[in-house]
Amino acid sequence: MWNFPLFPDQASTIAKHVDALYFFALGIAGFFTAMICVLILAFAARYRRKSTADRLNPPTASRTLEIIWIGGPMLLMLTMFTWAAILFYKMYDPPVDALEVYVVGKQWMWHAQHSEGRAEINELHVPLGRPIRLTMTSQDVIHSFFIPAFRVKQDVLPGRYTTMWFEPAKIGRYHLFCAEYCGTNHSAMGGWVYVMEPVEFQQWLSQAGTGASMAEQGERLFVQYHCAGCHRGSQTVHAPRLEGVYGRPVPVQQGTEVRFTLADYRYIRDSILRPKSEVVAGYEPVMPSFEGQITEPDLLKIIAYIKSIGAKEATQ
């Protein structure tokens, strides 16, 4: 009963840095709390009413003391702020070669899907030593993808994509929680993150029954929802080809002038759900809206497909 943990595992590369900052802050807290308590107890004891300690001309203000206890905390706080800000930026900026995983939060379960196609509920298998980048969205309310052992957390918002990245550094099984209150089974909406050897991970990934990769499933949906009818070149409808579009700026007609928007997840998702909001210059806004017809996981698959053909040149 008594072998309960007092400190979480350090299972990601960033964990050590966050803990170092935490211990620094803990040190400051401990030092100042102890100092104040010792001072108070000392003064209370030494200058108690009956004691005969000397109480001549007690100071009621001293500029030097004030400067010390304004300047001191100010310096400590500036160091903590800059240290935390640098670390925060590092936690924000995902490396380019990260493994893509798509997460959809739904009321009271996590649906994770690897770009190679394997999907899982309330579980996430990740290889050791490779940065993983999660692109996440929610189908209903705000959730929050929280892995304490990796010291990472990111709210998952409906109607928007949010990103988080980490690099596992220790094999094992770690808790996955939902940290933003989301309704009845908020406490049941969690699971496990398995960090596996890279070789083991590849086997797990290509296990039988995993089916097509996300891009292939996306292509199937691309045909199924008749996107291919227009976007793969047709005589009747004049629609932009989607090869070589992902990740590059596209010219968008904004009233009279034209501005360039990056064709990223947000832009493609908005163009599928609300096609008339950012129409590519030189094209008519005739595309129907797919709002409410395509579910979030399918959207992610279609976008993964468009991303996969992003590298190829448009072939007529």
């Binding site: 924000y92 928007r160 990103t163 997840y265």
Partner: protein, 99 residues
Amino acid sequence: MSGHVVSVRTNITIFVALLILLFATVGAAYLPLESLHLPLALTIAAAKAVLIGLFFMHLYYRHHLTWIVSVASLLWLGILLALTLSDYLSRGWLDIPGK
């Protein structure tokens, strides 16, 4: 018994000034100056608000405390707007979705 009595002539002139500013702001809206519309409209509206405040609301003759209260409330509105917009306007700078 207290407070300065504002003469009718001052009141009328302030009213006329306000009308002029109103027609100025409506006129300015029809001029083709795209990006300047909002700042211009806000400065004219601020000018009208100052006129009303100073003369109709007797700020000009009143104790300095009421000045501080009126300016403080606008300052707090500014804090709310500035820091909220700082979030929205700085959203797209990193090309990471959702950051």
